[in-house]
């Protein structure tokens, strides 16, 4: 199997496919023949494996291999892109010629000369063992054990499904300016789905965990938590109802409520929307948008996080970017195109789903730093409202700033106490208005360990998100009665 990484030799993982500096030099020379402000070739090789259990047997496995390269030519803010699954010189040169047509009508620029300069790569997800070296016979007993523990936890557990998916990915990006960067990116995701039955009522609950980590990450505590949470969510849903409809105070529980940040501000801070002046935050840099207790970061350096990145997909160094510092909007998330537009360094936010997609500015791991208030005090301060605990999907309209997110499980707050369980309710609001309506920030930041995936322009990338317990003065709750 190929090495994890070799900092001194970024070409190592792709040498078996005939990829070296000489091939890349030829491809980039073709790509930049009409001139370019930037150009790169991005190689990717991934191997992923999954096993699944249903109806009491480990009855399926899958293996997936993906290999290819994308060539990008950038002129100003114009992008030409082509990709191929064939890494031969002939195929890559054809892709380069296709991508460079974007530059055909532009004033001639002198093609840059490719002089290799190896970019430093961080180590935010160190691993001891490749997933490709883990036999299925290690995974199979794990997912069976999850199932057995789920059935043992409560007699109302009716059906259980468990899955474990993981993979190794190697990427190599070489830019026309000579920068060469490589990365090894592990990923794993384990999940438990439970259907609980009580009389004629059926409800489901699930829990999943994901990380850029190896097998050792699945310690007993984590595996136990996966099972217990999945079962308890299904059981809690059996007795849950619908909250009242309309505006009310909402306490967001620590953890997966970070989806609010992702939708309410994160997307609006991706610099491509601001460069085009289509984000509601386009004119608010340096302005106060939230109380001083609110600091929000997008952090590629979070150890082992699903959204962590050692180097971005343009070969830029990654960082922890502060989006909002003490309530003031501080920085957008930049790729190289927007960084050039704004005259600032890239924040290392240039990402792509795979070699089949051009780069976009994207979030990595977005979370709010903890405040000073104990969570119990926050709940106690609310007369009547909603305590939102477990979140599903979210969505946003970038220009209007309207966003929504789905609460799978929550509770009512009545007279400052958590009371009846509620489920399956959508919350909707306006990003800047909701951020301004934050009244209290808890001292209990939790970065959710779940397998979040962010979609934008048809591209999906893994992300993380987190939040301390937060009180928002009012949010519109899609309840069942007015």
């Amino acid at each position: 199997m190929q090495p994890l990484t070799d900092p001194a030799n970024p070409w190592a993982a792709f040498a078996p496919f005939g990829v070296d500096a000489d091939l890349v030099r030829k491809v980039l020379a073709e790509a930049t023949q009409n001139g370019a402000d930037d150009a790169d070739v991005y190689f990717e090789h991934s191997v992923s494996t999954g096993v699944g259990l249903s109806d009491g047997i480990v009855n399926r496995a899958h293996t997936s291999i993906d290999l290819g390269a994308g060539v990008r030519v950038v002129v100003g803010d114009q992008v030409g892109y082509a990709y191929t699954e064939d890494l031969s010189l002939e195929a890559l040169v054809h892709a380069a010629r296709t991508a460079r047509t974007i530059a055909s009508g532009s004033p001639h620029r002198t093609p840059p000369v490719f002089v290799e300069r190896v970019a430093p790569t961080a180590d935010h997800y160190p691993v001891q063992r490749l997933w490709s070296d883990v036999e299925l016979d290690v995974r199979v007993p794990m997912i069976r054990d999850w199932e057995q523990r789920a059935f043992a936890r409560d007699p109302r557990v009716h059906k259980v499904q468990t899955t474990l998916g993981d993979g190794d990915a190697w990427v190599l990006v070489a830019r026309a300016d000579g920068t060469v960067a490589s990365d090894y990116r592990p990923m794993t995701q384990g999940a438990v789905w439970v259907t609980a039955a009580e009389g004629k009522v059926r409800e489901t609950g699930s829990y999943n965990v994901a990380a850029r980590a190896d097998l050792a990450w699945y310690d007993q505590t984590r595996q136990r938590r996966m099972v217990e949470e999945a079962v308890d969510r299904a059981l809690r849903a059996l007795g849950a109802g619908s909250p009242p409809a309309g505006e009310m105070p909402v306490v967001l529980a620590a953890g997966s409520s970070g989806v609010l940040l992702h939708e309410a501000i994160g997307h609006g801070m991706e610099a491509d929307f601001n460069r085009k002046n289509t984000s509601i935050y386009s004119t608010r840099l340096g302005r106060s948008i939230a109380p001083a207790e609110v600091t929000i970061v997008d952090d590629a350096t979070l150890h082992g996080a699903r959204g962590a990145l050692n180097v971005d997909d343009e070969g830029s160094a990654t960082q922890c970017t502060t989006l909002v510092r003490e309530g003031i909007l501080e920085s957008y998330l930049h790729d190289r195109i927007s960084a050039r537009h704004y005259g600032v360094p890239s924040t290392g936010s240039g990402r792509r789903e795979s070699f089949r997609h051009p780069v976009l500015p994207r979030m990595r791991a977005t979370y709010m730093l903890p405040g000073k208030t104990p969570p119990a005090e926050i709940i106690k301060s609310v007369k009547n409202g909603l305590y939102a605990e477990v979140f599903g999907n979210g969505a946003v309209q970038i220009g209007a700033g309207d966003f929504s997110f789905f609460v799978r499980h929550g509770r009512l707050i009545e007279d400052g106490k958590l009371t009846r369980p509620v489920k399956d309710v959508n919350l909707i609001g306006n990003g800047p208005e909701v951020l301004a309506a934050i009244e209290m920030v808890g001292d209990d930041l939790v970065v959710d360990e779940g397998g979040w995936t962010c979609g934008k322009d048809g591209q999906s990338v893994p992300v993380s998100q987190g939040m301390p317990t937060v009180l928002v003065r009012k949010v519109s709750v899609g309840g069942g009665r007015a």
Partner: protein
């Protein structure tokens, strides 16, 4: 039949044979190859142009009744052989699941000819780069011409592609299919204080000539952006809900989850034990038709290679079929229908959208959904919406920051009228629909 298609078929046959040699008792192979081009323009120039030819192979196999499903894009001979060995070897760690066996050869086959499907528009083969560029530029210009000084940004895009696929099973089934697609769309962002209301339109079709004109699209884009100005929530309460034809498919699509064999088998379907009973207003009539000419989800065979044929899903409000593929049919001890939905053709009513709206004192028109989700086990749903408040068919308020919440089974009974204007640019061909007493939350 082109030489390229022959190559795909030969490779698929070869992979089936090799996988059997390696120890598989049954094998299914599909190989696809596609090409696509997309162009996006903004501020009078091309912002992004993407072009690629892509390929992929999927092999599913049973070895000693143990099942693995696998995919690769690395088709170099040595790499492929190594991959196949790995796929077969992985099976030994699993437990037997004979329900995964292939269909009987007699049950597999083609339900409709390629000629009848008419998915492979010959125009695609002769489409030139300059034609694509001019088409995109004309839409961008039309949007710019209709926009006013409050325009902040607008973009236009066009795309097209063609894919071909071969499918070979070790039981003797072997066939191929091909189809092209074309798409066009634009969006517009306007200035409104700090807010930037936006609107857009996107169309897709199997044949280029089925798409609307750039004039019609640009008119719609501008009108949809303008109608977002001044949007706000109104009081929570029950309102009649009018869904435009393009939006109705989203709500009807909620039925697909609980109708699936996996949901039924896992005990998480709110439609379990409802076959032959009324689950919706008698106005609702849905036929699943994979044989629909030029349909966006048409296909000659399904995922199990069972013959594709039209099926009535809901007839006058009565549930007539579930989506039970071969695997779940064996687990549940029932006859298979088909593994997944294709085109849904909804029976139209008699009146147009405008007439339905004009007859209502007040209604909420949902123009798009924003987030939200549903629970297949209970039918409960809750979605964010954007829309319009209409009185006697006239717009009185643009709506935002509102949710619509309810239960799927109750909602289906609340359907009171179906329009006569089916949407033809998506796999669900639904007309406009009017529902009564729907719960919206806002202020």
């Amino acid at each position: 039949m082109s030489g390229e298609e022959l190559d795909l078929m030969a490779l698929a046959q070869q992979v089936v044979k090799r996988t059997e040699e390696l120890g598989a008792q049954e094998v299914s192979v599909s190989i696809s190859r596609g090409s696509h081009v997309s162009i996006q323009r903004r501020e009078g120039k091309v912002e992004q142009a993407t072009e690629a030819t892509t390929r992929g192979l999927v092999v599913s196999l049973l070895a000693n009744d143990r099942y693995t499903s696998n995919a690769t894009s690395d088709l170099r001979p040595e790499a492929l052989d190594h991959f196949l060995k790995r796929c077969v070897d992985a099976a030994r760690w699993l437990e037997p699941d004979p329900n995964r066996r292939l269909a009987d050869r007699a049950a597999t086959g083609r339900g409709v000819s390629e000629a009848t499907l008419d998915q492979d528009d010959p125009t695609w083969r002769t489409r030139t780069a300059s034609e694509r560029g001019a088409w995109c530029e004309s839409l961008e210009s039309a949007v710019l011409a209709r926009s006013g000084p409050d325009r902040i940004s607008s973009s236009a895009w066009v795309g097209d592609g063609r894919s071909e696929a071969v499918r070979v099973l070790s039981n003797g089934f072997a066939d191929r299919t091909a189809g092209a697609w074309f798409s066009i769309g634009a969006d517009l962002t306007l200035a409104e204080g700090d807010k930037r209301p936006e609107g857009g339109a996107h169309y897709a079709a199997r044949h280029l000539t089925d798409l609307p004109s750039v004039e019609r699209i640009s008119e719609e884009v501008v009108s949809r952006a303008r109608e977002r100005i001044g949007s706000r929530p109104i009081a929570s309460g029950k309102y009649p809900m009018l869904l435009e034809n393009r939006t109705a498919g989203r709500v009807l699509g909620l039925l697909a989850g609980p109708l699936s064999g996996s949901a039924l088998h896992e005990g998480r379907s709110c439609l379990a034990d409802r076959l032959g009973t009324r689950i919706a207003s008698p106005l609702l009539d849905i036929v699943d038709d994979p044989t629909l000419p030029r349909g966006m989800a048409s296909r000659p065979w399904d995922g199990d290679c069972l013959v594709a044929r039209p099926r009535t899903v809901i007839e006058d409000g009565v549930l007539r079929t579930y989506y039970v593929g071969l695997y779940h049919s064996r687990k549940m001890g029932v006859e298979p229908t088909t593994a997944g939905r294709s085109n849904w053709v909804v029976r139209p009513g008699t009146r147009p959208y405008d007439q339905i709206a004009a007859d209502l004192d007040r209604c909420i028109v949902v123009t798009s959904f924003l987030g939200g989700s549903s629970n297949a086990a209970t039918g409960d749903f809750s979605f964010g919406i954007r829309g319009l408040l209409l009185e006697k068919g006239q717009v009185v308020q643009s709506l935002a920051e509102m949710n619509v919440t309810g239960n799927l089974l109750q909602l289906m009974e609340q359907l009171v009228e179906v329009g006569n204007d089916p949407w033809t640019f998506a796999s669900t061909r639904s007309p406009s629909m009017l529902w009564q007493d729907v719960q919206f939350s806002g202020l």
